[in-house]
Subunit: 384 residues, 2 copies
């Protein structure tokens, strides 16, 4: 029986993991870059250190019997040390370090998807002197250029529309991927436990804001035909099984106007698109992740009501709004839940919190989110 | 969306499937050998015919959009016809006909387990003139002789203790398997859905009656160390995944005194050891099976309380007892459930019904079962 969970990273995902761990009677330690990171308010113990501080890793390993991640950008030498300790039976590390190593490099991730025969947009590697014109010849125009490493929340990704000077082609290790104009972008959360249980959440639809390439709304269940929903579910399950993954994985998919389902990317961790599972599903993605990695039976993924989540970004409308004095959740009414991360508004569009609304239909849930956001903007911080 | 479930076989397992189907809004048709088979009281439509009546199969296929089995002994030519109709997209058949074909032959089942690398007792095929002495030389004495086909509830299985005349060695197609004196015989119910979800029930322990080689009691969760429980769970999950199985499967296992876990047999269907899931678990094995084959999200397998089930057999004590006028369930008190199958007591030790008790501990649940059985014997039919 595991007693102490260590978590790399201390943002809102880590905070929600700490809350779920408490429910399951696990002590928590997080490695946080900053003393005021969101999860520091929810963890039992905090190690303040950058992720590449090997001393911090040894401190974490000394305290914990199971270790996980709220983000995939953990330095490779730290991951290799975790793999060694896991192989030696000193600690359980899940998901496996090899999965993070694979996924944190977008080129290796695409190669793996292709090798395994999963449908994904065509791409070429641009590491060695491939020019924009050569990339365009291979995958067409426009195309998406992605850096091998370090992409996150819209960073490290650009759309190249012509091979002239309007979008400078990035040098260095990148891939060029055929541009898919999807009808929908959906994510399927897949939990797979250390004994092989596998549970799927109903597909989530992500709606991206054109500015900043950030998710604005997430709704669930995604409005898909039952045929497409089954394809998406099966493909996502197959991806996680092929990876022999343990833990919660978010499989991001494109649904094309022609009804094809393509894998876009895999996140080997709880996902910002899954916040609404806290209120909308019988078991949240956070609790499910912990159940999966410590070998507890998986909980029901049943969705209780249609749900909409809206991200609260640092924008002019809301600049300086502090609706809650402390990071945490406030139930604004019987079916509207405000989560506030307590982060400093250090940069435009930073995720400051989110709101989840449950209703009888997706349209009603979304309207309720919009109303609640409007009153948040009108009251600027007076909710606290 | 599936609307009409066809079931081969109409005993108590079929009856419980019909009840679960009603809950999920599916119409049911069963093929019953006799007009008074238990499930005929619970199905919406009944076809009275032997299983090998191809006309009955065509009648079933005309009515149903999804077809399943309460037993594996469906004739191969019927299975091949179902496979054709399934491949043609005219009906969904689950589990797959190939799984039943594999499993209904104990020799092919053992070969498959061995080929897949799953731990199972050593055996040899005795189809071609192998004598008892040769079998004993290969697998030791005593050994278990099993007919390739037709074994069920203790039939087609014998223990050979010496190569003399005391136990006549059966001629014909049989296997001889090393005799394992298990510390425990357990079963793990594994549900796997058409999209790849996989759910495990806590292991059940089966206690066999020495007379008749029949299960007398089943308790859950089986009292296993967490290490053995994990081994059993993982092995069972792996077996069903390796088979690419869809539906509920019961994986029967031996736990040896040395702590080895061996696969004994696979049942590609709901299982008599799983009756207690009706009251003890959030989702019964019957509902779960239907969810799995029609592609609904799997339900939670959580066990609410320790449980004991006792089979009510046709024995001198209870001969002629008819505790309920009709087949069905009666709650005897807040945690004791009597299920009566309404079968004629045609032969000794026939399963007439079962009783499930929930309590705070396995010992209390078992004591409660024994008390309830004693009053059933004392009252002989007066409960009705």
């Amino acid at each position: 029986v595991f007693k102490h969970l260590g978590i790399y990273g201390a943002g809102q995902l880590g905070a929600f993991l700490c809350q779920a761990a408490r429910k399951l009677d696990l002590e928590t330690t997080v490695i946080a870059a900053q003393a005021d990171d969101t999860a520091t308010s929810f963890a039992d113990h905090v190690i303040i250190a950058p992720l590449d501080d090997m001393q911090a890793t040894h401190e974490l390993l000394a305290a914990c019997d199971v270790v996980t991640f709220e983000l995939e950008a953990v330095p490779p030498d730290v991951l290799r040390e975790l793999e060694r300790q896991n192989a030696a039976g000193k600690v359980r590390v899940a998901p496996a370090a090899k999965d993070l190593l694979l996924i944190q490099n977008k080129h290796s991730q695409k190669c793996w998807l292709q090798d395994q025969g999963f449908p994904t947009a065509p791409f070429i590697d641009c590491s060695s002197d491939v020019t924009a014109a050569e990339a365009a010849e291979q995958v067409g125009l426009p195309f998406v250029q992605k850096t091998h490493r370090g992409g996150y929340d819209g960073r490290g990704v650009q759309i190249v529309r012509d091979t002239g000077a309007s979008t400078p082609f990035w040098p260095g290790a990148t891939i060029a991927e055929q541009f898919i104009e999807p009808k929908r972008e959906v994510a399927v959360l897949v939990a797979r436990s250390s004994v092989g249980e596998l549970a799927l959440y109903p597909a989530l639809e992500m709606e991206f804001d054109p500015v900043g390439n950030l998710v604005r709304y997430v709704v669930a269940p995604a409005p898909l035909s039952s045929d497409i929903a089954q394809q998406a579910a099966r493909l996502s399950a197959d991806v996680v099984v092929a990876m022999n993954g343990v833990g919660l994985f978010a499989v991001e998919l494109f649904v094309t106007p022609q009804g094809q389902v393509l894998v876009n990317e895999i996140a080997p961790r709880v996902h910002n698109s899954g916040h609404l599972t806290i209120e909308a599903n019988a078991t949240s993605q956070y609790e499910q992740h912990i159940r999966a990695i410590v070998g507890l039976p998986l909980g029901s993924t049943e969705q209780l009501k249609p749900a909409c989540m809206v991200n609260i970004l640092n924008e002019p409308d809301l600049a300086g709004a502090v609706p809650l004095a402390e990071p945490g959740m406030k139930r604004l009414n019987s079916s509207t839940y405000l989560h506030w991360y307590g982060k400093a508004p250090t940069k435009p569009l930073r995720k400051m919190g989110h709101m989840t609304c449950l209703a009888e239909t997706l349209d009603l849930a979304r309207a309720q989110c919009d109303d609640a956001m409007a009153s948040l903007a009108a009251q600027k911080g007076e909710l606290a």
